[in-house]
Symmetry: C2
Subunit: 145 residues, 2 copies
């Protein structure tokens, strides 16, 4: 799956912590958009989409959140709860976000400005784009026999 | 003084809040660096420098912090405590940060990568670069008579 957890160098001293993100140093793309989610209500699920082209780096700068990630081969659950750990999300990964802590602030860096045409918001449509059909390639091979 | 408070559009709904930052939309420069300060200890002062060229946008995505700002004409105090309000800081503004709340996460977008040569860390040197001397221009005019 086109995801990767990355450890971010923390410039901590007696004053507190500072983490810096720069393209070509620890961000593998130009930063063309930054957004942050906060004050997410209890029980809320967000996301539920994939991107055709967008690359993103998500960092829980405060609190915690759980990602469910799926590239069409089945879901993986990732808990983000450390402001010095980021999650790189590549293209064509279905994501769903839940279990936001009350204090969660999730910061996301993206390599493109907002483009509604880049979203796939229907899971079956996502599977069709990934597999060419609703069914995994292996299953289709069996049906073809 | 080359500072400006800006109100950021919040895309809030029943799920929670989302704020997006994009160059040429609500950020007046390309984003070449993002950093965040957190876990700042009680009583700590940070900053105490000016930048010769750097432009920055500071946003308290969680909690609160106070800025003391000075362009050489005297200090102004600005409290940041709203994740939908940003502070644009231009070049040659001395800044000192204090009164961080325990939960404060301060996110800063910058238009250049880290460059130690861009920092002025001595206040008298800052005043000399601003005024051409340690004294305000008006005072020097009096002395010249």
């Amino acid at each position: 799956m086109d995801i990767e957890r990355i450890q971010l160098q923390s410039h901590g001293d007696h004053r507190g912590m500072l983490i810096a993100l720069e393209p070509e140093r620890n961000v593998p793309f130009p930063i063309r958009r930054v957004y942050y989610l906060f004050a997410t209500r209890s029980g809320v699920h967000r996301g539920r989409h994939a991107h055709r082209h967008l690359n993103q780096l998500a960092i829980p700068v405060r609190g915690s959140v759980t990602f469910l990630l799926d590239d069409g081969t089945g879901p993986v659950e990732v808990v983000l709860n450390d402001p010095s750990q980021g999650l790189l999300l590549g293209r064509m990964v279905w994501r769903e976000l839940y279990d936001f802590s009350e204090d969660c602030v999730l910061m996301v860096l993206a390599d493109q400005p907002y483009d509604p045409d880049d979203y796939i918001t229907d899971y079956d449509a996502f599977l069709r784009e990934v597999h060419g059909s609703l069914y995994p390639a292996g299953m289709l091979a069996c049906l073809d026999r």
